[in-house]
Symmetry: C2
Subunit: 139 residues, 2 copies
């Protein structure tokens, strides 16, 4: 699976062609927010195959840097992400997907709804925030 | 400027110590959302210095991969980002900051409020979305 390369800045920034700028490892950053709450759920990576599959199937696919493998989100956890919208940024090296997680509604392997469950306080320490009581968590 | 390294998975995932896992280039991904609207404004990178400065000054600092330099957001554009909250994800290789942009209220050098001004449509082409009329843009 491959994407075209933008040859001018205008094509890259204002063009109608998806021409992702993959990094040296062949990846773009992908941020997933909850389509209903807007909360940032996770930040992960996509290679060309993961991005193409996400666009085509409307379910989130990522590339696991630690496992060095394509990864359909929710394949083992049940937290499949139905994609409502896909956006790309100005220089096409990051995508933003708005998703609705299936299963228990969460996105994080630790058991929180969002991977960003810790606030960095003013003194630099981390404070866990409990999930809102009306949201499901697993784990 | 340096941060400690988490020595166990529990420290990394449930600890109260900010122990970022910088990549081979010394960077973590940073996603900035608008503190009021929740919109994803931009995705950028922070090295240890940028992260430490962001925590300490409560204004967003990034590391420019193209310029290979620390970068205080808004230094030239006026789009300084006042930071309302900083979060770190489960494996501490990504941060989420909630910001309020100064200046014209935007975050993107192309002139849109958010860098993610293009939707990837079902057929894979890109569609620019106009900024809401009540929001300021520059450029």
């Amino acid at each position: 699976m491959s994407f075209p390369t933008a040859t001018t800045k205008t094509e890259l920034e204002r063009g109608q062609v998806l021409a992702p700028q993959f990094d040296a490892n062949g990846l773009v950053a992908a941020v997933a927010t909850h389509a209903d709450t807007g909360e940032v759920l996770m930040l992960a990576w996509m290679n060309a195959e993961a991005l193409a599959l996400t666009v085509r199937t409307r379910q989130a696919h990522y590339f696991s840097r630690s496992r060095n493998a394509l990864w359909k989100k929710g394949e083992s956890s049940g937290q499949v992400q139905d994609v409502e919208e896909i956006r790309v940024d100005c220089d096409q090296d990051a995508v933003w997907i708005k998703v609705r997680p299936r299963g228990d509604g969460g996105a994080c392997h630790v058991g929180f709804r969002s991977c960003f469950y810790r606030v960095v306080t003013a003194d630099g320490t981390l404070q866990e925030e409990p999930d809102p009581p009306n949201m499901h968590t697993h784990g």
